[in-house]
């Protein structure tokens, strides 16, 4: 049955109790008050324990619905994307579907063997060798020993770690570690695969390889639920996507529709607040540099309106958290459909500076962009070297609009296809 519903989610909800410390401000407390407060909280914890209740820190307790009233269906062989901002409830949903945690309300029915991949390298043991960890991790993800054995060479090959197979993984570089972890996961063959933001690992080349592998999985009739912040990957891998915000399902439809709706809503928010952090890539090498602000031609991203053939420049506000030697900055210009149109790097221009800890503004003059009037997005990243794990990436942030007003009238009609505009070609009649 090709259109058989294999996952059916009905009014699923999950609430947590969270505590707040409602302090009495910064007022100095006397020793007696501190002792009294602790005695009180001890008494309350003891009471909670005697009633078998959870101990919650803080003196004000609130019920928080991480997920409420979510319903959807997935048919056999379908790939469903789930998007939403950090903390929207996507991971909670996946945890419920993976049976890790229980819903508070509602019900989900799943037909088939499920494997969920909520993190790469779950259960890897630092002291065990790569070989041993393949078996360990494989078993944890639900593969049988025979299954792992038959795929062992393939996994090692995919991870490119033949030489280090018998080295404890704690001696691995972070890249090798992640490659091995993903390689095991990529060879899972369940009927239903649930994946949470695991593609954003490793270097660029490996990421591409992983995406290819996943695409393969999705095309082989397996049912896939895929959560990611990588919106192009969502569009590329899934046919249908649901959007979750503040625990509620607010949109569902074809992936490109839902993604553009999501981008539209985040864009409106950025215009209102100027806060870019919602676009920060989760998987990064933290503690080196944070991108704080981006200005396009002096304007906030999303607002910048650029005249036709006008010179474009970007100002990137960077907080260096330690001394950085010759960092590389990459600016990608994306179409509305999130295809990368061009990738601008600081290496091309031999821009090599050393940054002391502190705030710096780096300006990049791009020049006139040979682009048709329309809306464009940006990704901006900083790393130590090309292809290395990035220090910080904001993607895909709203970029700028190239205004049609000043362009020739035949560009304004909207009938001309394409994105790149090459309008200084030389034409001549030969012969």
């Amino acid at each position: 049955m090709p259109n058989e519903v294999v996952i059916k989610v009905e009014n699923l909800g999950k609430s947590y109790l969270i505590g707040h410390e409602m302090g009495n401000g910064r007022r100095q407390e006397s020793f007696r008050e501190v002792v009294g407060r602790h005695a009180l909280s001890f008494a309350r914890a003891a009471l909670d324990m005697s009633r078998g209740r959870q101990i919650i820190q803080g003196n004000k307790i609130e019920e928080f619905w991480a997920l409420s009233d979510v319903s959807f269906e997935v048919t056999r062989g379908e790939a469903l994307g789930i998007i939403g901002r950090n903390g929207a409830g996507k991971s909670t949903l996946l945890k419920i579907l993976s049976r890790i945690t229980e819903p508070t309300r509602g019900r989900a029915t799943i037909k088939g063997r499920v494997a969920s991949l909520l993190e790469v390298g779950t259960g890897f043991h630092q002291d065990l060798t790569g070989r041993e960890n393949i078996y360990l991790n494989g078993a944890i993800l639900g593969m049988s020993r025979a299954e792992i054995k038959s795929k062992f060479d393939e996994i090692v090959d995919f991870a490119e770690i033949e030489k280090f197979l018998d080295t404890p993984v704690k001696r691995y570089s972070s890249g090798m570690y992640v490659r091995l972890a993903f390689a095991v996961a990529a060879h899972l063959e369940p009927e239903i695969l649930i994946i949470d933001e695991v593609l954003a690992v490793g270097d660029v080349v490996f990421q591409r390889k992983c995406l290819g592998k996943l695409k393969n999985v999705a095309q082989h009739g397996r049912t896939v639920i895929f959560v990611s912040h990588n919106l192009p990957a969502i569009i590329g891998l899934t046919s249908r996507t649901i959007l979750i915000d503040k625990g509620r399902l607010i949109a569902g439809g074809t992936s490109s529709e839902v993604v553009s709706r999501f981008l539209q809503s985040t864009q409106n928010e950025i215009e209102a607040s100027g806060d870019l952090s919602a676009f920060r890539r989760d998987y990064r090498s933290e503690g080196y540099a944070d991108i704080r602000t981006i200005k396009v031609c002096g304007n906030d991203p999303g607002i910048a309106r650029i005249g036709f053939r006008e010179n474009v420049f970007l100002e990137i506000g960077l907080q260096a958290l330690r001394s950085l030697e010759h960092p590389i900055i990459v600016i990608n210009v994306l179409s509305e459909q999130l295809e990368v149109l061009t990738s601008i790097t600081s290496i091309d221009s031999d821009f090599g500076v050393s940054l002391d800890p502190g705030f710096h503004t780096i300006r990049c003059e791009i020049g006139a962009l040979p682009l048709m009037p329309g809306y464009y997005r940006l990704s901006v990243g900083i790393s130590q070297s090309y292809g290395a794990l990035a220090w910080d990436v904001l993607e895909p942030i709203p970029g700028f609009r190239i205004e049609p007003q000043e362009s020739p009238t035949w560009l304004q009609s909207g009938e001309r296809p394409g994105v790149v505009l090459l309008d200084s070609c030389k034409w001549m009649l030969q012969g």
Binding site: I100, R107, I110
Partner: protein
């Protein structure tokens, strides 16, 4: 086409829990193997620790209880008697303390992967078998040294090993479950284990306990287990009613442990 259908609902008791447990046996094996494999990683003495610790403890007990206090040993060399008691005790104590922390030390697994959680403490206790078998080997060496031959009863030893395993499993399940919610138990267990060493007849024979108290004394399940170990290996005398009580207590604790664990299991990922 697969016949598996999973229904996820609040408060739904897994109907197929025990079948699921069986389906995940390979994971159980792998986790037990992992705990064994990493047990003595990055230590200089390695497995030698499994020899040094019980042997030193045996020496101390032999000197204090055998030489200084001059307690009776029922006709067998005192050191041998102590070691035969030390064996199930150490197994129980390591099993219990390792298992109690098993879910907390594996937080990553619990919050990212589904499996019947009971696998975790059980696999951890299983890993304590390494030390046990090494101890068994030491015991055999000591018996050869003292020219003590085991009787036919030795074939019953596996039964009592299983009993020791279950004795560790029951309380472990209970403590593991509660430990997830209230970390206080992390501090309670080491204390209990230390205390239990002196309450249980490890350094002395349970025959020193006055006859009228023996039934009561056997409420400590370790009494029956240690006695039966000595009976198996060293032909010591045994007080069967006491063993019966110990077995009953083991079963009761196991039932309580499983019940508590099953009840709390569903909330582990939220609380850990």
């Amino acid at each position: 086409m697969s016949a598996i259908e999973i229904i996820i609902e609040p408060g739904r008791a897994e109907k197929n829990y025990w079948r699921d447990l069986w389906r995940y046996r390979e994971l159980f094996q792998v986790l037990a193997w992992r705990d064994c494999a990493v047990r003595y990683k990055q230590t200089v003495l390695g497995v030698a620790w499994a020899v040094i610790r019980p042997v030193l403890a045996m020496l101390i007990f032999t000197v204090i209880f055998g030489r200084i206090a001059k307690l009776p040993s029922g006709g067998v060399p005192y050191a041998l008697m102590v070691f035969a008691g030390m064996l199930p005790w150490t197994f129980f104590a390591t099993g219990l303390s390792d298992a109690s922390n098993s879910l907390i030390t594996n937080t990553g697994l619990v919050s990212k992967v589904y499996f019947p959680r009971m696998i975790m403490p059980t696999a951890t206790i299983t890993a304590a078998f390494i030390d046990f078998f090494i101890g068994l080997f030491i015991l055999a060496t000591m018996m050869a040294w003292y020219h003590v031959l085991p009787s036919w009863r030795i074939v019953l030893l596996p039964i009592f090993v299983l009993l020791a395993f279950l004795a560790a499993l029951g309380p472990s399940l209970w403590v593991t479950a509660v430990n997830v919610k209230y970390r206080d138990f992390r501090y309670v267990i080491p204390f209990l284990v230390q205390f239990g060493l002196y309450v249980s007849p490890v350094g002395f024979s349970s025959s020193v306990v006055p006859q009228k108290w023996r039934l009561l004394y056997s409420l400590n399940p370790l009494v029956g287990i240690i006695d039966s170990f000595r009976w198996c290996v060293l032909r010591s005398s045994i007080y069967w009613p006491g063993v019966g009580i110990s077995v009953a207590v083991v079963v009761l604790l196991l039932w309580l442990g499983v019940r508590k664990f099953r009840k709390m299991e569903r909330t582990f990922a939220d609380l850990i």
